[in-house]
Symmetry: C2
Subunit: 419 residues, 2 copies
């Protein structure tokens, strides 16, 4: 038999229980972000392959599901490489499509534009537990605001959402590409090597400061720079005001405005007196994507090992499409991880209690059937959820099944009415 | 510049105004179908190519977006045909994936299973006005109910949804594959030619009964059969009880249960005294897909030329996956057409009136910023939608823009507070 019952490798069917939780989380996200003035939009799931392979996506560009050309445009005989046979691909994130969207539609959008996107993305990653090749991303982005009000609003909208979903004691870690760079420059690393340094720094969680030192040396970075760099990280850990300390030490490498920029974000968020989370400066935070130009941030939830969302400022991406830079900043919340966690915690959606099952015996005559259907429809109009179904031979088992679905009330309609 | 601002050919960006209407329509659909006991599920957008090209999809199988194999599995050098280089494809409808889903997960689902699906599908159709290569489908299906209660519930759920969306005077047209076949058999067409006869009959709307006659003859069908067949259609038009008439004339070709089956569906729907639409028997209704085995139906809305959704019974498709047939019946509502119509009618979503804009002047000091942000957050917690944004130099224009987005109330925060 050529037909396969299994979903495609690495993708999953969503059963009713999970679907309810997904809908619930989506609704909380949508409502909260709307209260912050974000506006929902959508882009196609399919993008031009050239947009997806233009080095905006980092490692994700290796994981694209590519779409075959169609009709006359496809010529397998003369094809030499992949690019000869594909024209489109499935989007691997929502940021590149958003920037394309904004570049095209900016005239019809307000300034600044606060976008909310909820949509699937695809990555042909190695399948592993809890990680799928199709997954939902929920992003908010603010385009056209060069001030740190964008960062503040993004962080508050995201943390408010997490709180509404019942999460506590989570952490927002925040850093600045300008601080990352200043620390590297101050230590004497040449600018062209920054990205390689940061990739190593990004392993702090796993290998610690000594591991970083070792790996920098192993990668032939000058001993002196490595020493100065790791020393700096060690010193920051001792400071009560690490940003102020860095501003002083790094001097003109960092610029005084960066200190004010960061402090305003952190202090404003703290000023809301949200007690369920903390926001902390983390000079070791790197974030993978090379398109970030300024602030970067990440959510850490203690229940998870890793991050549960993140984002940052990417002021140079719109310019790649239009030739004119537009300031932009975004925050992606880890939708799939949140759903997974709620499921593991046995989270139950409060169900509508006003519901009833009509069980109709087989052989009920046509007139009676009409009456019953009309009655069901009337109950629905009055606001009751009515499931109309045939009465099975094993009625007891059927009712048990229905009770498991949350139905408590039954009305039975027999072939030979008793009354 | 290699980056393109345009969406992929035939697909579209969804702007905020349309998005609001789409969300509204989706919510009405979801709420109404839930009140009928349907449960939402989801399948991946990507399916195994073998499932998509197994003759369940009719003409749609020619329109599949196919996905290139990845890594070592892809060998362009030795590839002879498309199937050598693709392993997956984007789904062209929600029915084939649903049946695969049910085949795999039936043990975890209730019987009968009432499924609601809302999701994108893709077809590489020739682009034309109002028709896109990515579009949303909203399907309800009942699996495991062999009785006509399935048809009745599907039709009532769909018509109730249309009424809630404000549509009036629409029509549900209904037919039965068994009647279609009986009429053809009675007229003397051989069974293997039925599908070709029905393809011609399907053109009734466009070419009329005389056109049908002409085209049947042109296709070398026996004159006598063509005569008898078209005569039958002419006669039905005169009848006040066309189903009863056909049951009498067609005799054993049709079977008496078909009459009761159809009348129960029609009478039950009428018994709900829904005044906004009518349900009519249409013996010329064919529906394209060859997988239908029984009842078929279609929505006709006068504002549209063509159909705005449809469906039918397909009792043999689960068996193709599992070897065991399961009765199944579905109804798809024309989501994109509904959205298009509401947009053309200038439909406006009632907006939340409880909202305010905080305009913050550039240069407001850090302490003041913290105060303002905390105040905004407090208002949000009290249920107000608060848009916090920088005050532009041209404040008048900025306010006009914001008013166009529905904001009426403004609070302004200046660098040098007046009070």
């Amino acid at each position: 038999m050529a037909l396969s019952k299994k979903p495609v490798t690495g993708m999953k069917d969503i059963l009713p229980e999970e679907m309810k939780i997904r809908n619930y989380v989506q609704n909380v996200i949508k409502e909260t972000y709307t209260a912050f003035g974000f506006t929902q939009i959508e882009t196609p799931c399919v993008e031009n392959i050239s947009n997806l392979t233009n080095k905006q996506g980092g490692e994700n560009e290796k994981l694209i599901f590519k779409i075959l050309k169609r009709g006359e445009k496809l010529n397998l005989q003369t094809a030499q490489e992949e690019n000869d046979v594909v024209d489109n691909g499935l989007r691997y994130d929502l940021t590149v499509p958003l920037v394309r969207y904004y570049s095209k539609n900016a005239n019809d959008l307000p300034t600044p534009f606060k976008a909310l996107q909820m949509g699937n993305v695809w990555r042909a990653d190695r399948p592993q537990r809890g990680r799928y090749r199709q997954f939902m991303q929920c992003d908010i982005d603010i385009l056209g605001d060069s001030s740190n009000l964008a960062e503040i609003e993004l962080i508050l909208a995201t943390t408010t959402t997490l709180e509404k979903l019942g999460f506590k004691n989570f952490q927002i870690r925040i850093n600045e590409r300008r601080i990352l760079k200043a620390m590297a420059a101050y230590s004497g690393f040449p600018e062209e090597s920054f990205d390689r340094v940061f990739i190593i720094l990004d392993k702090m969680d796993k290998i610690g400061l000594d591991g970083i030192k070792e790996e920098l040396v192993k990668n032939d970075f000058p001993q002196e720079s490595v020493e100065k760099y790791t020393q700096l990280f060690a010193e920051i850990q001792q400071q009560s005001d690490p940003i102020g300390y860095l501003a002083e030490i790094l001097g003109e490498y960092m610029g005084d405005d960066v200190k004010q920029w960061m402090n305003e974000i952190i202090d404003s968020v703290k000023a809301t007196k949200a007690s369920d989370f903390e926001i902390v400066f983390d000079p070791t935070l790197v974030r993978g994507m090379s398109y970030y130009t300024g602030t970067i941030f990440e959510i850490a939830i203690p229940e998870f090992g890793g991050s549960c969302g993140g984002g940052g400022r990417y002021d140079k991406m719109v310019g790649k499409f239009t030739g004119h830079d537009v300031p932009a900043c975004g925050f992606s919340i880890g939708f799939e991880r949140i759903v997974l966690l709620l499921m593991e915690q046995g989270f139950k959606i409060p169900e509508d209690s006003n519901k009833v099952v009509y069980l109709i015996e087989k052989g009920v005559d046509s007139d009676r059937l009409c009456e019953v259907i009309a009655q069901a429809q009337k109950e629905r109009q009055a606001g009751t959820r009515v499931l109309v179904t045939r009465m099975n031979k094993n009625k007891k088992f059927q009712k048990e099944q229905l009770k498991a679905q949350g139905y408590e009330n039954f009305k039975e309609f027999f072939k030979n009415p008793l009354n």
